[in-house]
Amino acid sequence: MIQVEGLTKRYARQVAVDNISFEVNQGEIVGFLGPNGAGKTTTMRVLTCYMPPTAGSAKVAGFDVYESPMEVKRRIGYLPETPPLYPEMEVGDYLKFVAKLKRVPSGDVNRRVDEVAERCSIADVKDRLISKLSKGYRQRVGLAQAIIHNPEVLILDEPTSGLDPKQIIETRELIKGLAGDHTIILSTHILPEVEAICQKVIIINKGKLVATDSVDNLTHRMHGSDASVVVVDTAGQADSTAVQQRLEQVSGVSKVLGRHVEDSGFTYEVESLAGRDVRADIARVIVQSGWNLHELKSVSFSLEEVFLELTGGQAPQEGAE
């Protein structure tokens, strides 16, 4: 649905996006992740034909953003970081205006306005002035204008920024509900959000593509393995090195790291080859050796850790860009 190849965008003084390539398939929800100023908004602006790329190409639904922008614009719904609202207009009139602007046939305008108002739960404020709306409602009106022409591709720039927790959950549900009919790219710097809604994630940092993969794969691939934490109490029968050697002999285990040595037990982090669950084997070995197994759990690396590692330890910040 979306193909980006070697996309570069240079401003007067800096390179905002540097030679990134990725692909998004039909019906996918993709999270666009990166610290502030990483080039997320710039990439989205290129995809929506707001600005042309300096080099490289981007195709939406088979149309190049530079060569046939009109075709691309018809197929895209875009919610910028600040919803593009006219404060002096009423919500209903505003949506009608956007519908006409997006070339919804005249006969369908009223029906579409009612539909999206229902879907975004703003039907009750249709007669209110936009300037009188709360932040949450404005965001939803912004989302409503993005989907009013039923676009194939939806591009949402930080759709949940500035909302309260309840509104965030509602907006996420709404976005999830839109998946399937629409291909969605959403940018965010809130990691749990990506884990909550997206199937695929694209991480960029300082304009460069750092990783692109499914959320599950990414957390695995980072370490090339699954990991488990084991706490063993030998009751004085063996020292920690002996236990470690014994664990290393279990088939499928790639690495054992000793973490703490305490009287109550030794803690190890056991990494195994991807896709192999070695917990049963570990448990058997420990029990057969006559030791006590206090704890055995598998841990997966959170996206947060992956993100920090990939972007060089720069913690994502909440708040304004």
Partner: protein, 255 residues
Amino acid sequence: MRNIWTICRRELYSYFVSPVAWVILAIFAILSGFFTFAVTTSFLRYALQSQMQGGGGPMNVNEQAISPLLSNIAVIAIFFLPMIGMRLFAEEKRQGTFELLATSPISDPQIVIGKWLAALALYGAMLLVLLLDCSFFFIYGNPDWKPFVTGFFGLLLQGGCLLAFAAFISSTTKNQIVAGAAGFGLALLLWVLNWVSSFGNSDFLQVLSYLSILSHYDSFARGVIDSKDLIFYCSMIFLGLFLTTRSLESVRWRA
């Protein structure tokens, strides 16, 4: 065509649901009312004088009341139109709605023409107020309607010109005050440019003087549609709108 109308209608909607249009119309009504009163009074005094002294030339409402009134309005327009034009693009950029227009399936010229037409329509509404004032000339007198029509037509053309340039200036900034001040400065400059004709007779000064926006209005006020002036206004409008389109385009490249 539908796109231009969509943009134009929304723009007019914004003018008329916010106080902008009403305040401008009210102030213009007061000013145009005063000017009508002033030219009528001086016309009557002149008429009385020539009667007392006996003889004198025949009086003409068109030449001695309506024409000076319309010329005065043309000057007032120089003060009003930058105010109407300054918000056209600066406001869209400031509140982020320009991003909506720029990512919709609509071309830059359509956006520019739609907005310009809306601003021109507001100016047209102002001229309707003036028409109301002028109706008294027709009720109590018997003026020729043809120079009257050309006068209004000329006002619209001159307004279109100023609005096209105001739109261009507005498209270069996010700040309405800057757009307003620069637009007003340019309008004033275009007005007084014909002064240079008295400085000498070189080709350069002649060209500068020719660019003066008000001197081209005189023929319209007298009831003449001179193709020279018509072409001047049309090409100025085209230039202003063309520059606006280009400026929007460059905003995207620089962003």
